[in-house]
Every structure is written in C-alpha cells, then in structure tokens.
Amino acid sequence: MIEYLPGLFRGVIVTIKLGFSFFIFGFVVGNIIAIGQVYGNKFISLFCAGFAWVFRSLPALVILYLWYFGFNLSPFLAAVLALGLRTAAYQSQFFRGAIQSIARGQMTAARSLGMSKLRAVVKIIMPQMLRLSLPYISNEYAITIKDTSLAFAIGVVEILKEGRLIITVLHNPMDIFMIIAVIYLIITRGGTYLLSLLEKHYRIPGFEISN
C-alpha cells in the first residue's frame, strides 16, 4: 500500500490548492459584491443582489458543470471559478449584513472629515466589516472546503479521485476512505484554526462576538 501514498499525497496538494484558491477568490469577490450591493448605484446594487441570489440558488454541481462544459476551461480553473463564485455569493451576504450593522454615523463622520466615499469604505467601513464577519467566514470555510470533493465530477484529480484510483487496484475502500476522512478533518480544522488566529490578532474592544 505504501507505494500508493505518493498518489494520495498529490491529491491532498490538489485539494488544498483548489480549496485555498477558490476560497480566497470567493472572499475577494464577496467583498466587492457586498460593497457594490450596499454602496453602488441602483444598477450595480441590483446586479450584485442578483449575483448573490443566482449563485446561492444553484447546486454546486450544476455550477461546476456549467463552467466546465460552458466555457471550455481546464477542470481546475472551472472548479476555482464555480466554487469561488458560489462561496462569494454566500460570503457577500455575511459582509453585507456586517456593513449594515455598522452605525450609519461611521460613514457620515468619515465623509465629514472630507474623505471620498471610496476612501471611507476602504479605511473606515471595511476594517470594521471584516472584524464583524470573520467568525461567519470561518464557518463558511468549514462548510465549503468540503465542496472541493465535487470537483472530482469534472475531472479534477484531487484527493477523492486519487483515493478511488487506489481502491480500484487494492479493493480496500474502508481503509482509503478512512484516510481521506482524516485528511479532510485536518484540512478543515487547520483552516478554521488559522482563521481563529487571525480573529484574535485583529480583536479590539467593541467587536466582541461570542462564537
């Protein structure tokens, strides 16, 4: 069995790469969507709300197939985009909620100092928004990191795919799936742990959220 471990390891690397890529992509897009939805003009706001609605309403597998078959992309890129936009839709709504829970006076005070709207959003609103939404983002990570396993369906050779390849030769599904389960546990827990460190690092009085 030892000789098959390098294959499994390659799969782990692909899973982690895919997971981090799509999650960070989703985080960035989620920020933009939330800010567009709250501060954009009518058209932008409507577009962002529509985006969030569509990508939260479709099964992840359907989005994956649409990207993969629709745009002739490599499986990995299609998976990053599909899963990334899906988590972006969810994350945008956490961010939007956080923005809307920030008192209006913060924006007013920033503008009264002479800041432009964009500067006020970046310097005053976003630092508060991120602190308020970090616990929910951590939760979202724990939920969506497992969706990387769906990329298997469009041919990304991640951990699950590597595992199945081994099973077809060794016929020991229980062993392999147990190993895969433990690896998923580590990836999920590791990520949420890193996020909790981030949360602690940026913790300041006035932003206490019991998690």
Binding site: T108, G114, M115, K123, I124, Q128, P205
Partner: protein, 252 residues
C-alpha cells in the same frame, strides 16, 4: 472694533423630505471667532441645517458661501469643503476600530496626506487640548461618553477647520459628563474658534454665544445676542419656548 471676516454665509436654504418641509428658507452668517447657538424645539430642522451646510445632506435650494466664496456642489469639491468645516456629532461617531489617537490621526493621514509622524504629533497636541492625551491608546468602547465626545472635538480640531459645527454635542450624555464637554467648547470659543452650535444647554448659550438663533418649523423666528434673546425676546413663540425650556432644565 475691526470688521471681522465672514466665515460662513447661508442664504435661503430649503430642504424637504417628501412633503415634509424641514427647512423653509434659512439665512444666517457667522464671522470669524463668533459663537452662534441655535435653539428650538425638536424636529424643527436644527440638525438638518447643519448637515445641509456640510452637504452631508444636500439642500434642495439655497446658496452657501465659505470665506466669501460660494460653494458650487460637486462630489470632488465637496470633499475639500468638508475638510474646512469640523463636525461634532450627537452620537460622537468615533471610528470604532481606531484608538483615540487613531481617530484624530485618520483625517490627517488619509485626507490631508500628512506623514505619520507629523500626524501623530498634531493628533497628540489636539488630544492634550481636550485633556484626553492619557487615553490616546484606548478604543472608543473603552471610553465614557464624555471622553468620546472630547476625542470627537479633537478629531474636528486636528483638521484646522475654519469653523466647527456641533450637533447637540451633550444630548447623549449623562448630566455629570456634560460639563467636561461644555468646558472644552467654552475654551475653544474663548480661544477664538468659530463655532456653530445646536444645543439645549441655555447656560452655555448665555455664557458663550455671541448670538442665539431661535428656530422653529424650519424657519428662524428670532436672532440676537443672549442678553436680548433670553432676557427680552420680541416674538411670542420665543418667550413660550424659553419658558418651557426653563421649566424642563431649571434656571441656572
């Protein structure tokens, strides 16, 4: 006495929310070093007037001059205009994620583009002015209301504004905390800062104001120096209001 420079002039300002006419033709001017206090019943447009003057809430109609130059509204211009007008809020509105020092610095670094070191020195100077230097590293959530408001004043002062507008700066404070804020405002007035203050604190108005403006239903009913407006008002509504406010807050 030499003729003092006019800092702010407002002419025929109008503002409506739907059919609700909040401001119905407000005109006023304020000269350098003057303190003007606006009083009047709640919902009368006093706060709206201040936010309109700063275009935080653009007026429907009316003209505004700053240092003799008419303000032509545009998104770019208005950011420059606002730098010159300090604003102190009823709810303090300190930036929650910044320390007291950070709150005073942020306008200097982000708007006036000052170097960090220079901004820090200036911010510490302003915090000292309001007696808050000891709390420089504390966050708003760790400060009392009165302390927060003093930081709010320091934040406005740091921009070296032409005038500072106060929107009911003590209304959200416990009575024992009002004093520290009012003392600082009095100090500023005596130092020659130009102040436009919306307040119910008649003690402050009487002691510090050059002029008191009585506003009701979006109009200025009467304007005059404290000794005239408080002791010897002309209009019936002014008399009624002053009686009511004396009943509520007591003679001081």
């Amino acid at each position: 006495m030499e003729e003092r420079k006019e800092i702010l002039r407002v002419e025929d300002l109008h503002k409506s929310y739907g059919t609700n006419k909040v401001l119905q033709g407000i005109s006023l001017n304020i000269k350098q070093g003057q303190t003007k206090v606006i009083i009047g019943p709640s919902g009368t447009g006093k706060s709206t007037l201040l936010t309109c003057v700063n275009y935080l809430n653009p007026p429907d109609k009316g003209r505004i001059w700053l240092e003799g130059e008419e303000i032509i509204y545009s998104e770019r211009e208005i950011n420059k205009i606002r730098q010159k007008k300090g604003f102190v809020f009823q709810q303090f509105n300190l930036f929650n994620h910044l320390t007291a020092l950070g709150n005073v610095m942020v306008g200097l670094t982000e708007v006036l583009k000052k170097k960090k070191k220079e901004a820090r020195e200036k911010a510490m100077y302003e915090l000292e002015r309001v007696g808050m230097a000891d709390c420089a590293e504390q966050y708003p959530a760790e400060l009392s209301g009165g302390q927060q408001q003093r930081v709010g004043i320091a934040r406005a002062l740091a921009m070296d504004p032409l005038l500072i507008m106060f929107d009911e700066p003590t209304s959200a404070l416990d009575p024992e905390l009002m004093g520290e804020v009012l003392d600082n405002m009095t100090k500023l007035a005596l130092e020659g800062m130009t102040l436009l203050v919306v307040t119910h604190e008649m003690g402050f108005a009487r002691a510090v104001a050059d002029d008191i403006i009585f506003m009701e239903n979006g109009r200025i009913v009467e304007e005059g120096p404290p000794e005239k407006l408080i002791m010897n008002p002309e209009k019936k509504r002014t008399i009624e209001f002053l009686q009511k406010i004396t009943q509520l807050y007591g003679e001081d």
